[in-house]
């Protein structure tokens, strides 16, 4: 949908449309990369540099995030052959991508550097497993962890489940409604040659898969994969010389949180998540609202995380998320498709960055599906969304990414198609 005509896109305060994502890249999504996070990080970044049509030495800022399971910017910068004027390695997983784009804009606006690469590199299956099995599960239990890990309350699913369960209690949300998140994202993944899981699943498949931790079945949980992803952010002035239509950054909210961050369950309603607070920054900063968004990347570490965020950011009324995600709105061809690459549930797990990459490609109108490539080097999209077909959203202009760390903390970003 075009932006509202009265949107003031020039307000310096908000830096709307002044910075853009100009390059995106990733490794393959695998289980068993047989590579270090260092090798994968520089691989993804080289792909992003080639995608942007710049030289490695054009990058003079670098940001990345990890849970002590990755490689610092210092090594990646060396391996791609550039000298940095700014870098920062951050601790964190989901919700980091959008927040770091915000920091990238801040440091460029402050004159600290001119072109920032952001990466996430992880062997989330073959080294430090995202689900918490292996090394993470064996770590000694000290001090504050006695109040959670000593109770077998450790993995993301275990940690978030009281939120999901209480949502079902508060609003009557049904398992078969929530399962539709997986169904729809798997349909989209079947049109994504890169996706780790390309199979289309049904509601029955989800409900008949084994219970991991109520209310989560195996197929309510994302995939664990090895991969690296990278994006390049720079000013719109610099973007003019680059290869692709830039994805202009309209507005960001970063790691916005609920009260009682020491233990967020102390403050309710616990079925409400960080988006409840974050929306009040995201939409005014972006100058748009949920109704203006053509496609969403709603962080799907679990089926529930997508649904909860859609509610709290205002895509539907609070408590009506189950109805919303099972209405067809979120499908390719629907009013507001989401996680068009298949997301974390199917494409691969990269702590949010792959959903930003997908929206950048969507906004270029050049998403990498199986449609034939035309003489101009761009895909000739058919908009036939049947299995193995197209996944380009028609005439897409504005996207939102809703990043999730946990029920307490989230980040989000609105982008629009540049000229």
């Amino acid at each position: 949908m075009p932006l509202p005509a009265d949107t003031d896109a020039t307000t310096p305060k908000y830096l709307r449309d002044k910075y853009a994502i100009v390059g995106v890249g990733e490794t393959t999504y695998t289980r068993g990369s047989d590579k270090t996070t260092r090798a994968m990080g520089s691989w993804a970044l080289r792909n992003a540099i080639a995608d942007a049509g710049i030289k490695a030495t054009d990058i003079d800022g670098m940001l990345d995030y990890s849970g002590n399971d990755s490689t610092s910017a210092t090594f990646i910068a060396g391996d791609i052959g550039t000298r940095l004027n700014f870098y920062m390695d951050c601790i964190g997983g989901g919700s980091s991508t959008e927040a770091l784009v915000g920091l990238a804009i801040g440091i460029m606006e402050a004159g600290l550097c001119k072109c920032v690469a952001i990466f996430r590199s992880m062997n989330g299956f073959s080294q430090v497993r995202i689900g918490g099995t292996g090394a993470r599960s064996l770590a000694p239990v000290n001090g504050d962890a006695l109040h959670n890990r000593a109770y077998g309350w450790q993995s993301a699913g275990q940690s978030f489940a009281p939120t999901f369960m209480r949502h079902m209690y508060d609003y009557g949300t049904k398992p078969e409604q929530v399962a539709m998140v997986k169904v729809v994202h798997s349909e989209h993944a079947s049109n994504n040659p890169k996706a780790y899981y390309k199979k289309r699943y049904t509601v029955d498949d989800v409900l008949n898969s084994r219970i991991i931790c109520k209310p989560l079945h195996l197929l309510d949980c994302c995939v664990e994969t090895d991969n690296a992803t990278a994006i390049i952010v720079t000013s719109v002035d610099r973007a003019k010389d680059m290869r692709h239509t830039p994805a202009l950054i309209r507005g960001i909210v970063g790691r916005c949180s609920k009260p009682r961050m020491d233990m967020h369950y102390q403050h309710g309603p616990i079925s409400t998540v960080a988006g409840y607070y974050a929306k009040n920054i995201l939409w005014p900063n972006s100058g748009v609202g949920p109704e203006d968004i053509d496609a969403v990347g709603a962080y799907d570490a679990f089926t529930f995380t997508s649904m909860l965020q859609l509610e709290d950011y205002g895509f539907c009324k609070k408590g009506e998320g189950g109805e919303y995600v099972s209405s067809g709105i979120t499908r390719l061809g629907g009013r507001r498709p989401q996680n068009t690459s298949g997301g974390h549930l199917c494409e691969g797990y990269t702590h949010g960055m792959n959903m930003v990459i997908e929206n950048v490609r969507q906004l270029r109108h050049d998403v990498d599906d199986s449609c034939p490539i035309g003489p101009d080097g761009k895909r000739q999209h058919t908009y036939d969304y049947r299995e193995g077909g197209c996944r380009q959203v028609k005439n897409i202009e504005v996207t939102a990414n809703l990043g999730w760390a946990n029920p307490m903390t989230g980040s989000a970003m609105v982008m629009r198609r540049g000229a």
Binding site: S137, V141, P162, R166, I211, K214
Partner: protein, 173 residues
């Protein structure tokens, strides 16, 4: 000397300098549940912290708190992640709203105390007991002894309380 213990095969440690947790678990080891009460605003808080989440005062006094309440939410783990818990699945992780200070200082707040569902004598609840418990169930605290100076608060059915006719449970058993 740090407080150490082994619980279900997990090594638990509280460092000497972690005064709040040392005191919290020392009371638990005597099978008393104590929480910090703010010396300024008089609100009680959970879990232990170094300052008041409502008024930021660093000053507090440990006070006894009744270990009784109602299940606010839960999860039921069928596929354990930590090796320690694989032998006790399905196990329940409970968030229990204590009766003390429920709805204060705002309607959505409560002392929401975590713990596993146990039998009255402190063993992990068997599957048939797990199936009886849901949102709204009335529970009382029991302690699992780990080592001298270290016991962990957990939950069991409050036999003396009036239980809801049908506590809310996830629809798929």
């Amino acid at each position: 000397m740090p407080v150490r213990g082994e619980y279900l095969g997990m090594a638990l440690t509280i460092d000497d300098l972690d005064g709040e947790n040392v005191t919290y678990f020392k009371h638990c080891s005597e099978h008393n549940f104590h929480l910090q009460k703010c010396d300024e605003c008089a609100l009680v808080r959970y879990p232990p912290t170094s300052g008041c989440p409502w008024c930021s005062s660093p000053k507090s006094t440990w006070v006894p708190v009744e270990g009784k309440g109602e299940v606010h939410s839960y999860n039921e783990v069928h596929h354990a992640i930590q090796p320690a818990f694989k032998a006790v699945t399905p196990y329940m992780l409970l968030l229990v709203d204590l009766d003390t200070q429920k709805g204060q200082p705002s309607e959505h707040e409560a002392l929401r105390v975590a713990g596993n569902l146990m039998t009255p004598d402190g063993k992990f609840a068997p599957p048939e007991m797990v199936k009886k418990i849901g949102i709204g169930s009335r529970l009382r605290m029991v302690f699992s002894d780990v080592s001298p100076g270290l016991s962990i608060p957990n939950w069991t059915i409050d036999e003396d309380a009036k239980q809801p006719e049908k506590p809310w449970r996830y629809p798929q058993e």
